[in-house]
Assembly symmetry: C2
Homo-oligomer: 207 residues x 2
Amino acid sequence: MKERPVTRATLGRLPQYLQLLRKLRDENVQNISATAIAGRLSLGEVQVRKDLCAVSGAGRPRIGYEISGLIESLEKILRYDKCTSAVLVGAGKLGRALLEYDEFEEYGVKIIAAFDCNEHILKKGGSTEILPLNNFESFCKTNNVQIGIITVGAGSAQEVCDLMIKNGISAIWNFAPCKLNISENVILKQEKLALSLAHLNNQLLRI
Amino acid sequence: MKERPVTRATLGRLPQYLQLLRKLRDENVQNISATAIAGRLSLGEVQVRKDLCAVSGAGRPRIGYEISGLIESLEKILRYDKCTSAVLVGAGKLGRALLEYDEFEEYGVKIIAAFDCNEHILKKGGSTEILPLNNFESFCKTNNVQIGIITVGAGSAQEVCDLMIKNGISAIWNFAPCKLNISENVILKQEKLALSLAHLNNQLLRI
């Protein structure tokens, strides 16, 4: 499989392809064309070819894609072979809302624990444990945590970020509305929910 | 002011410019160059020129931008002159987390009410009221609601969407993980939080 960067838009469609291909495999279908995939999923044919090309190369003329191989490539890209472990710090409303999202695992990421310094919302034994922040260091030592999700307020975000990096986390998803200082080898994704709404508003005003 | 589409990235930087320019106005500064703005905000000069060009046209050689005019243009784009009204349906954890976001108003959108069919979370008299869904129709009739935010589960999202459109809402921000059928004159922004995480994960795996 070629390791190319996969765009966010392509990534978003991969679970659909995977679902369809698994269904076809169960029906003992062995090959499928880009045209047929596009038709089944109401997508453009060019888009399907482009998406699948980024994932596993082109289909073969008159034969199309070999379904089992394509499933394997998709599972690899979506990391179904090996889920990445994430932790979340800040179990307020937003943090707990994210803990309830089932979709993350579909994309190969599992939130294995959440942390908070407010003792009132600590929870053990649920689907995802909410642990005291004091346990963060020891938890990271025994679990291979790669992604850190920050859902604390802007005032504590940098401190949480530093703690995460100190404990070996190399990718950070920040919901706090503030700029974080990180070292070069850390990947940062700044989530700006307000921007989505601003963009929608801007489109609305141009109708 | 030229009415051009403003990109999401540009929009995201506008409040920074506005904040700086207001500060300069208070100090009785009348003009500023793109170079000076870029330096103050640690942004690239080309980016500053491009952003401000989308908002109000180019600065004048040797004089730069006239601060008061630029403030006016920014306020207009960010709709500080007239906030757009939004309502939210589904006051679960995510919905209530969004109600607590202060940032939306910075971009000209105000969530004026939230609705839920669960009587236990109804709340009156807080910063944003959570009202019973039965009141939705009459509320929309008396308030000019333009944006609808859907934070219910995937199972009820289409029903809520239809209700919003029926009541004159023309822009929808959907957090439910499902495709919505809408008429052509309605703007839809599908929020896919899982995709941000998937993208971060994908970058992580390519280090």
